[in-house]
Each structure stands twice: as C-alpha cells, then as structure tokens.
Subunit: 259 residues, 2 copies
C-alpha cells in the first residue's frame, strides 16, 4: 500500500468549496471521482486546506492510498485527462504511509486581492474584491502589525467554527500594491474558519478610514466577532502555498476549518 | 449635438468579438443596447479596435453622438448599471464632433500572454495560452527585432483580411517573463487581422526551437501567410491601451481589421 500526494491548483469560482457536500460540485468530489475512475475502486482523498466555496488555490495538497500498478508520478497525467479544466494537478509523488496533510506543522500562505478603483475591471474581478473606496495602504500595514504573532483570533473567526481553540500564530502579513490592486499576503500555522477573509475585511475598514490601526488591537483583545470588519467575498482569496516547517509540534487539530 | 467618448474594459471570453454580428453577443451590441435604453433613441457606437471573438481589453475606445440631457461624464455610471458584469466603462467624456476613433493616428498596445509549463494553471488559463514547450525567451527577443519598424506584414495577416495595404509599423515588441508567464507587449500604428496572434505564434515557434530568429526575417520577406507560425488563440490577447500620437498623418484606412 502506497500513499500518493497531489499538488492541486484550481479556480474555485464554480465549486462549492473543497470538501464533499450534499449539494454542489466540490474539488474533493471531483478528485475522488477521477481517482476512483482510474483505480477501479473507491478512493477518497484527504486534503490539507478545506478551502471554502469560491476560494481559489495555486497549490493545495491531497493524499490518498493506492496499491495498483500506476506509478505515483503518472497520476497527475491520468487525473488531468479526467478532471474539469478548472482543476489541474500540478504534481504527484509518493509519500510515506503515515503522511497526513492536516497533522503536519506547515506554514500556509494565502493572498487576498483588493481592487480599489471607482469602476470594476472585468479582467480582475474573478480573482479580487472590488472596493469603490480609496485605501490608505500605510494605515493597513500599521494595523496588520497587531495581528502578527500568536494571538486568540476569536474576533476574526466565523462564529460557526468547530475549532477547540481560537489561538493561532500569524507568521507574517505583507501588503503589496501594484497600480489599483492591493494584495495582502498572510502566512500562518493554520487559520480559523473565514479568518483570512475577516482579517482582509477589517484591514480594509482601516484602509478606508472607518477604523484606526489601534482599533485592530482592541478588536483582537475583545475576542468578539462582532467587533471586527466584514468577511470579504471568497473570489479575492487564493491559497498560495503550504510549506512544511522544521518545527514538528503541531497544535492544530484535524477539525480545524480553513478559509 | 455632442460626441461622447467611452473607455471600455471587458473580458472577451463570452463574446463574439467587438463588432455587431448576425449571431452571438458582442461588446458593441451590448453598448448599443444599453445606450439606446438610456437615450430612448437608437444609438450606435464607433469603436477604435474591433477586437476578435474572445479577445480581452483593458482600454478600448468607442464614441457616439447624443444631444439629450445626460452629461457626458455620467454615461459611465448609467452604462455600468445596464451592462453585463464582464463589460465596464472606465470613463466617459465629451470630445469634438469630428472625433473618429479609427481616423486618428494612435499607438495601440496589445499584450499576448503565454504560460509555459508542463501543466495548465486554472487561474491563468482564462487570460493566457498554455504551451507544454519550454521556451527560450532570448531567442524570441532576437526574432522580435526583425519585426519592429515599418514592414509589409502580409505573412502575419489572416488571408481573409480586407485591408488595402498590408504595410504596418510596429513601434516596439517587449517580452517580459514572470515565473512561467511570458508576456509579449506589442505596440504599433494599427494592426492587420490576427496580426498580433500570428506574431505571437511565430515567436513561440522560435522560442521552442522550431524556427530560428533568422527564419522570422525570411518569413517577413516572403509575404506569404503559410510561412509564418500558427494564429494563437484569442484568450491570451489583451488590448492594453490606445494612445494618441503627435503625428497627424494616419495612413490606416477605416476598413482595417484588428486582432
């Protein structure tokens, strides 16, 4: 029995998220269907980040067990021949049989893209959130500093979370500007449900002047979701990478829900 | 009677090009419909670049005549409230009544994006052409030099062109690389039908080693469409800008067909 790892990129626009649901197509569902077709027996993947409906990914990870004749490195080709065009396996290779993508200590990096202009731009609207407001990026950077580090992010978590603890470590938040596009790049050791989208929504409130950078410190300390800004829409969110860290002490449970 | 100019951005994926056709939705058709709705009388725009089916634009130009009460600068809002989401008027303002967008000397800049990797990437596939080949960009740059300047581009023109002359001036070709994405930026005083997509297809043949840079000189001199590379698909092409030049001697006829 071998375990195979898939590196998966997708445009999440037309999917009801990663995880198999009663209703709607999902990334996991499409992978399971294609793998079952290849293997001739039911295969169910385990994903690293269970991204929400409409969220995109450059490099999500899934693993599955397989003991048939197809070499691990051929799965990418067999899968891409069977998957819809908006899901593409970028690589496939064998890992050890105890490899569980949600029980490893990793740094996940997400980007949230905000397009700030008086009119929407069609060619960016599929992968960004449009705001009519002009945005003070320096103020957003000031506010972001309060969020870096290990904190209780209860204020920045969907109240429907099933997480046993709302303490998480944000490793870095960088904010780049290119023309009218503002890109928040957030790295952390696991995120709470909707956490990146609520952080983006709160920092945008700061950028447009509805909150001060210091308010973000108060929101964090308040541990109350109603204090923070809105959850921005999923289209602006992209899972960029999942990187293994040296540190082997993962304290993030398997029940963690990810943005 | 006033003439109003529109700066129009669109995702061309779902359109049968700019120009009104017997079949299918077009950018011009959507503008005419929305303007007629606003004005209460039939309005037909004149476009600067009649982009082909599936081609995108950041900044195309259209003008129309109107003598009603709505100020020119309000048309952008009235139109965006009525247009499909994948067309957005970025600006609207009054111009002189003799302003004809295809009878002015302008520099048009197009970008053609080629994604070179062993697997497609869903989040870029809407706006780029995927090639499995690895590409030697330096060789493409060498080849591109032969195309800059005033030449007979008959080899780089769809044989169905109605143009009276196939002589055009290419002002510059720059090729940028960002990761696996290769972006050809081509500026010129008007282009022939499919010219940018055939140039991109021919330069890609050079990049992958099927042609030498010197072959491009021979192809240009041969004045025969069958010598050049393939017409790359429209999804990779984007009209970036149309800039007025000092030079008032336009020799590009109104019948010109544009990529």
């Amino acid at each position: 029995m071998g375990r195979v790892l898939l590196r998966v990129a997708y445009d999440g626009t037309n999917y009801n998220g990663w995880q198999v649901q009663d209703n709607g197509r999902t990334i996991e569902g499409e992978l399971n269907r294609a793998l079952t077709d290849i293997a001739g027996e039911e295969i169910v993947v385990i994903g690293a980040s269970r991204t929400d409906a409409g969220v995109h990914a450059l490099d999500n990870i899934a693993v599955f067990d397989y003991d048939g004749p197809l070499p691990a490195d051929r799965f990418m080709y067999a899968l891409n021949a069977r998957l819809p065009e908006d899901i593409r396996v970028q690589n496939s290779y064998e890992v050890t049989s105890d490899y569980h993508p949600r029980k490893r200590t990793t740094i996940k990096t997400y980007e949230y893209s905000i397009y700030s202009a008086k009119v929407e731009l069609p060619i960016v609207s599929r992968y960004s959130y449009h705001t009519f407001y002009s945005v003070d990026v320096e103020k957003m950077r000031e506010a972001a500093k309060y969020l870096v580090g290990e904190h209780d992010f209860k204020s920045f978590c969907n109240v429907k979370t099933s997480a046993t603890t709302t303490v998480r470590e944000v490793v870095s938040i960088d904010i780049d500007v290119k023309g009218s596009m503002i890109v928040l790049r957030i790295s952390g050791k696991g995120f709470l449900y909707n956490m990146v989208r609520i952080i983006a929504g709160t920092l945008l409130e700061v950028g447009r002047g509805a909150l001060t950078p210091e308010d973000v410190k108060k929101i964090l300390d308040g541990c109350d979701r109603t204090l923070a800004g809105p959850t921005l829409p999923p289209c602006g969110l992209m899972l960029m990478s999942i990187t293994e860290t040296e540190d082997e002490n993962s304290n993030i449970s398997d029940e963690e829900c990810v943005d």
